[in-house]
């Protein structure tokens, strides 16, 4: 109950945020990225965190949603909402096929197989003609009920809605029978099986929920950016970023993935746009022409992934419960 209220409060704050900040496309844009990564990572967490099945190929479901939606809108002029629903169906189909292969495997093999499936999906999208191949798909115009889809607000609230739904489902799963079974599977698959839990059924259930939510986010992303190609929506880097966000925030907890996204996405943006380097130079703390100044201005942006790597190593070695674990000693 406490968690429901917390979700409601945070969602409420997030919902009025654009009204407070006024029309600021840049800020809203960054917030959309935060909400998207929070939701992606939370959706992954249902399968990875609670059921302990670390999928390294979630980009496949994101891409399935994005591609299905874009193809249906550009080629068949379908309503965006219907296209999103179709995206979920395609993602679930891919998930069922993936599940039938990877859930037979454990440990190392599970992770490796999930990468292989996702790579097959990526290469197929790259090689087929109907997916736009290497050229990707550009969407010039899209409309829905007279909403201004050039504005960021529909997508901000769309992402927020999916995040709230994802958190709600996670919360429900935690206290339901399915949730207990999933956690039993995570702790010890053999013991869970001997208790009569249908491993494959519950793993697939978690995967389908996770894949559907991920696909929905992929569809939203595609209509938001209005351009997709394989490197934007199907890349292995995306799958890994989703996992790292959950791990760094706190895997297997309700708020861990959200915290991870809230910290990491703005951090990446700060490094990308070089705010720190510029600020130091502007304040006169570092001379623009000095070695350090040049390094800060020219090279710090390169460091974004390096920082991810360092945080990951530190988290795995010293913070197994993620950054959330710092605040809550007891789960």
């Amino acid at each position: 109950m406490k968690q429901i209220i917390l979700i409601a409060i945070i969602a409420g704050i997030a919902a009025v945020l654009p009204l407070v900040t006024g029309e600021s496309p840049y800020f809203t844009g960054v917030m959309i990225s935060v909400l998207m990564m929070a939701a992606l990572s939370s959706a992954w967490n249902i399968l990875g965190g609670y059921a302990g099945q670390y999928s390294f190929g979630h980009a496949a479901y994101f891409g399935a949603g994005a591609y299905t939606t874009m193809i249906l809108i550009t080629q068949f002029n379908l309503n965006p909402l219907l296209s999103m629903a179709a995206g979920i169906i395609i993602a679930c189909l891919i998930a069922l096929i993936t599940g039938s292969i990877v859930f037979r495997l454990r440990g190392h093999y599970f992770g490796l197989a999930s990468i292989a499936v996702a790579e097959i999906v990526r290469l197929s999208a790259l090689n087929f003609e109907f997916t736009g191949g290497a050229q990707g798909i550009l969407l010039s115009e899209v409309s829905l009920w007279g909403l201004d889809l050039n504005s960021k607000n529909p997508f901000y609230y769309g992402m927020l809605l999916v995040l709230v739904v994802t958190l709600g489902i996670t919360l429900y799963l935690r206290t339901s029978k399915t949730g207990f079974y999933l956690q039993a599977i995570r702790e010890d698959q053999d013991a869970a099986a001997s208790l009569g839990i249908n491993l494959s059924f519950y793993k697939n259930k978690a995967l389908l929920i996770s894949a559907s939510l991920t696909s929905l986010l992929g569809s939203l992303y595609a209509v938001y950016i209005r351009f997709i190609d394989t490197s934007a929506v199907l890349d292995l880097r995306l799958s890994i970023e989703i996992i790292l966000t959950a791990i760094i925030g706190g895997v297997g907890t309700l708020w861990g993935p959200v915290l991870g996204a809230v910290l990491l996405v703005p951090l990446a943006e700060v490094l990308r746009s070089n705010v720190i380097g510029d600020a130091l130079v502007k304040q006169g703390l570092v001379s623009e022409t000095s070695g350090l100044g040049i390094f800060l201005k020219e090279n710090l942006a390169h460091a974004h992934v390096l920082v991810y790597g360092i945080i990951t190593v530190v988290c795995i070695l010293y913070l197994p419960k993620g950054i959330l674990g710092l605040f809550r000693r007891v789960k």
Binding site: V20, T21, G22, S24, P25, Y26, F27, G29, V30, S33, L123, L126, N127, G133, A134, Q135, G136, L138, S140, N150, Y221, I225, R226, F227, D229, S231, A232, E269, R272, S273, N274, K297, E298, A301, H302, H304, V305
Partner: protein, 381 residues
């Protein structure tokens, strides 16, 4: 933290109109400093930096705000929106990659801040009628048309395609196929490959067996060297190797004289073209960065010069757009004019050049009015 950030944004927005007159005019530059295209991005960074320095020396003060998109369209959009709404720039140069440029271009009319695309090749970018999008370089279809026109007089009969499975690779070959059909060239092999493979020999062996007169190649940086090494290894010897930009136009490729000799390539710019300042630019660039400028560097340099010159005469985005639309320039990229033609809007009808590597050096060989040397045909080892 969040509140502070919000208040900074708010303050910036409020302060903008006040600052507009006091501070120098601001221009944005979106480039791929990190990510897959970072290597080409560096050339653009250098070219742009030289232009900025030169303008400063002339007493034209502008503030350049650099943004990295990592080759990711989502980041490019964030960068553009930051530049436009938070930094208050009146014009933006970039982005480099076609996908990023496409996405940013589609939003530019919404924000009414002109975008000058220096080197992205995808046709779409200037074909959608966007009023605020200008492009300096020639689009993808010109790469193939200029190459084929250059060799047309030798009456080749067959052609084979070997190209990377990327946007540029696929787009360029599509237009090449159309141009080839017009010339009556017969397609005898079509090998699309995934980048970064260690072994292209099987594909090249197929091409060799088809015995084409022309081999049309689209590859990035080091892949070009790998492909040509393996082509030599298996003894693929057509009448001409035609490289469409990118990997076949780098100094690194030319230096591999054993494999690069007599390779013909299409480029936006060469250092021996008779456009004003081209040779001088190459000399200064080499002195500063101790390497040869690529055509990307030249495109970024000229785009930045045009942007800064025009922006310094305008104090608003609207005036800048009018200035870009009305102006004409004649610098290291030859005559520049943003015109509407053949379905393009605000597209500079840039004449591309054909160059040939002769003993490790690029020589312009086509069109005749820009070149000092003559094309060597057929290719020999």
């Amino acid at each position: 933290m969040k509140n502070k950030f919000v208040s900074i944004v708010a303050a910036a927005l409020v302060a903008l109109p006040l600052l507009a007159h006091a501070a120098p005019i601001k221009i944005g530059f979106i480039n791929s400093i990190t990510g897959k295209e970072a290597q080409i991005g560096e050339n653009l960074t250098n070219g742009a930096a030289m232009a900025l320095e030169e303008m400063k020396a002339k007493g034209i003060q502008v503030e350049l705000i650099k943004e990295d998109d990592g080759g990711d369209p989502k980041n490019a959009l964030a960068a553009y929106e930051k530049l436009v709404t938070r930094d208050g720039v009146i014009g933006v140069v970039g982005p480099y990659t076609s996908s990023s440029a496409n996405v940013v271009a589609s939003r530019s009319d919404q924000y009414q801040v002109p975008l000058l695309v220096p080197a992205a090749a995808k046709e779409d970018i200037t074909m959608k009628g966007y009023k605020n999008v200008f492009r300096l370089n020639a689009p993808a279809n010109v790469y193939s048309s200029v190459l084929m026109t250059a060799v047309a007089s030798y009456k080749p009969k067959t052609i084979a395609y070997v190209y990377a499975a990327t946007d540029f690779g696929v787009s360029t070959v599509k237009t090449a196929q159309e141009n080839a059909a017009k010339m009556g060239l017969k397609e005898v092999a079509n090998e699309k490959y995934q980048q970064g493979q260690p072994d292209y020999r099987p594909s090249l062996a197929k091409v060799k067996a088809a015995n084409p007169d022309l081999v049309f190649l689209v590859s990035y940086d080091a892949d070009a060297i790998l492909l040509m090494r393996q082509a030599k290894e298996i003894g693929l010897t057509p009448k001409a190797f035609l490289g469409a930009g990118a990997g076949y136009t780098t100094a690194q490729f030319a230096q591999q004289t054993e494999i690069s000799n007599l390779v013909i390539s299409a480029t936006q710019w060469t250092d021996d073209v008779n456009w004003p300042g081209a040779a001088d630019f190459a000399r200064r660039y080499k002195a500063k960065y101790s390497k040869e400028p690529s055509y990307h560097a030249a495109c970024a340099y000229e785009a930045m010069i045009i942007m800064i010159e025009t922006a310094s005469k305008s104090n608003s985005a609207a005036k800048l757009r009018a200035g870009l639309k009305a102006g004409s320039w004649n610098g290291i990229m030859g005559p520049v004019k943003f015109a509407d033609y053949n379905g393009f809007t605000n597209q500079n009808n840039h004449p591309m050049l054909v160059q040939q590597i002769i003993s490790g050096k690029y020589e312009t060989v086509f069109p005749a009015q820009f070149s000092k040397k003559k094309l060597v045909y057929p290719f020999t080892r």
